[in-house]
């Protein structure tokens, strides 16, 4: 099983690809609403991409209130 650090890094890389950002421009503690200027709907789109990548199902309630990449990675890690 990948470590939390690996998962976090993968989440960041996928988010950078999804929102067409330069590699390395996001960090774990970044608040994605603030940093990316996105709304909750765009977050859902990112979640679908993450689900496909990690081959998991992330129920909507698991990500309720999550706004930073680190916590998001933790939620994913707990389902790997």
């Amino acid at each position: 099983m990948p470590t939390l650090e690996n998962t976090t890094q993968e989440v960041l890389t996928l988010a950078e690809q999804h929102f067409r950002l330069a590699p390395g421009s996001l960090s774990p503690s970044d608040d994605f609403f603030k940093k990316l200027g996105i709304d909750s709907l765009q977050t859902l789109e990112l979640l679908s991409r993450l689900e496909n990548h990690f081959n998991i199902e992330l129920p909507d309630y698991e990500v309720q209130g999550v706004s930073d990449f680190k916590t998001l990675a933790e939620r994913i890690q707990s389902r790997l």
Partner: protein
């Protein structure tokens, strides 16, 4: 449809509906690709009555309050049916609130029963605020894993009585539900909605947007919200229509649901509608030049032919692929919760998809005005619904004034707050706090707000008082949060923002450290509740004898500052 004028309560109407439409499809519940459940009205009744019995066995009786905190799903409606059947008062709460906020509203409402989902209960039961809910006696939890610690709750699925429950009748003027329009920061605004409010609103709305057996409504807006409660529960049920619930609201599954279940109606907030528009525009732009030109011509033809009123059969033929993507049966998208920009409404209407745009607030039932599509108008929020009296009070020379409403759909008042009720309902007229005017055709045009609040594109009402707690003990002399458009009135319903007004101590400077503290606190708020800028104010805030900030007086003082220069970015 049932003749709702003959009924005295939601419970009585629903009771007859499940009999009358026994063999019609009532609910479909889907989770990603899997269809989890499909119920007829008869099956719905078979699931709801044992729950009603068990509630009554747990000494839940007439006028007792029961809260539901759930995502949109069949058990939400089954539970609500059981509550109304037992003569109870429903307290629907937003599942997106924080546990502390949910506990606060549970306490305020005096709910005796709570019906919720396991993941929500996990958070609620771990919250330190739990101890405050002294009136809560029974908690029912759906879908709990087999060995889960239920922290004192019962499993919803096992909470069933074996004998026939008693049907407890209610009167039209009795309170049917307590709906919180806001107020998680110390001033809960629990709108007491009567049975009459819902019965009258349902008659008015279905006269313009009818339901019948075979209609399928896709329920996406939270059911605790007035719109989905009406058009995703009470409305379709009293007409024998079906409600489709999705357990995952990811855009791709929502898109799929339109075709999979040939959806007839859906309600969306403006943000989602705009997103849908962007997606379609991108697809249209990708068409090869030849096809693109043909498509544009077809849209122009459709626009011309549907000018007087919608012609769905024609639009579906002209723009076949667009309509096929929406399932081919879509009659209208209902949009609500916040102001929708006219160009978005026009975009969909030009494609032959009418958007039922309207205006309403929880306090007035579901909707006050709705576009009747005869003809379609993107520039207004429509005409008052049947039974609605709407007037403009103290109009300025341009005709714009505060919108007042009087109708049988207006709430009976705010729970435990006679003062606020007296300020809000004057001689039977509800002061909406919104500004607008009527045109010569009787259409209402909204142009701003008189009240200190904002409504986001996601349909969230945000009151400054509710978010101030996050800035508590900020190391400054004093602070206050305002809606920028309240301080500097602006004729706009979009792009509303909150600002933090700060009065620094003598000799204190706005240091980077203080700025970081503010930004850090702000980020603790949910994204749509955040402040967008701050204003430095160098005088003491006007206060009452009990030292409360006189917000109106402070706003008047702030208004003397130049808005563009005064608001500093975070």
């Amino acid at each position: 449809m049932l003749d709702l004028t003959k009924y005295s309560s939601i419970g009585a109407a629903l009771k007859d509906a499940v009999e009358k439409f026994a063999n019609e499809t009532c609910l479909i519940e889907s989770d990603r690709e899997r269809e989890k459940d499909r119920l007829t009205y008869a099956e719905f009744k078979r699931r709801a009555l044992p729950l009603a019995r068990a509630l009554q066995d747990a000494s839940f009786s007439a006028t007792d309050r029961a809260s539901i905190i759930m995502t949109n799903q069949s058990k939400w409606l089954i539970s609500a049916y059981a509550i109304f059947y037992s003569g109870g008062v429903l307290v629907p709460l937003d599942y997106k609130l924080t546990p502390a906020e949910q506990w606060q509203l549970l306490c305020h409402s005096g709910a005796k029963i709570l019906i919720t989902e396991y993941p929500i209960w996990r958070q609620l039961s771990n919250s330190p605020a739990r101890g405050n809910a002294t009136s809560l006696e029974t908690v029912l939890v759906t879908e709990a894993p087999p060995n889960a610690d239920l922290a004192g709750a019962h499993r919803w699925e096992e909470f069933r009585g074996s004998s026939e429950p008693a049907f407890i009748p209610q009167e039209r003027k009795d309170v049917a539900s307590i709906v919180y329009s806001s107020g998680t920061g110390g001033h809960p605004k629990g709108c007491m909605m009567t049975h009459e409010n819902y019965l009258e609103q349902c008659v008015a709305l279905t006269s313009l947007y009818p339901f019948w057996p075979g209609v399928r409504y896709l329920s996406i807006l939270p059911t605790n919200h007035a719109i989905d409660f009406m058009v995703g529960f009470f409305g379709p049920f009293t007409c024998g229509a079906a409600v489709v619930h999705l357990r995952t609201l990811r855009p791709e599954f929502v898109r799929e649901a339109f075709t999979k279940y040939t959806i007839t109606y859906v309600s969306l907030v403006p943000l989602v509608l705009k997103n849908l528009q962007k997606g379609l525009q991108t697809k249209f732009a990708e068409l090869p030049p030849g096809k693109g030109k043909i498509f544009d011509k077809l849209v122009a033809i459709n626009r011309a032919l549907t000018k007087p009123h919608p012609r769905l059969w024609l639009s579906r033929r002209l723009l076949k692929q667009v309509h096929a993507a929406f399932g081919g049966e879509l009659r209208a998208i209902i949009v609500g919760g916040a102001f929708t920009e006219p160009q978005t409404l026009q975009f969909f209407y030009d494609l032959g998809i009418p958007v039922a745009n309207g205006y309403g607030l929880t306090e007035a039932g579901t909707a006050i005005t709705v576009n009747d599509l005869r003809p379609f108008r993107a520039d207004s929020v429509g005409k008052p619904l049947p039974g609605m009296e709407v007037k403009i009070v103290d109009p300025a020379p341009d005709g714009v004034g505060e919108v007042y409403v009087r109708s049988k759909t207006v709430m009976s008042g705010y729970l435990n707050d006679p003062e606020l009720t007296a300020e809000t309902i004057l001689d039977g007229w509800l002061r909406t706090g919104d500004l607008g005017k009527f045109d010569a055709q009787g259409h209402l045009h909204l142009s701003g707000r008189k009240k200190n609040m904002i409504v986001t594109e996601e349909g969230k009402n945000i009151y400054p008082e509710d978010i101030e707690s996050v800035f508590e003990a900020l190391p400054v002399k004093e602070f206050c949060v305002f809606a920028a458009n309240y301080v500097w009135p602006k004729r706009s319903m979009v792009g509303e923002q909150l600002i933090l007004v700060i009065h620094l101590e003598n000799n204190q400077n706005l240091t980077d450290e203080l700025k970081a503290d503010i930004a850090n606190r702000n980020s603790r708020l949910l994204n749509y509740k955040r402040i967008h800028g701050m204003v430095l104010f160098n005088e003491d805030f006007p206060r009452t004898a009990s030292l409360k900030i006189k917000r109106n007086d402070l706003a008047t003082l702030l208004a003397q500052l130049d808005r563009d220069h005064a608001i500093l970015p975070l």
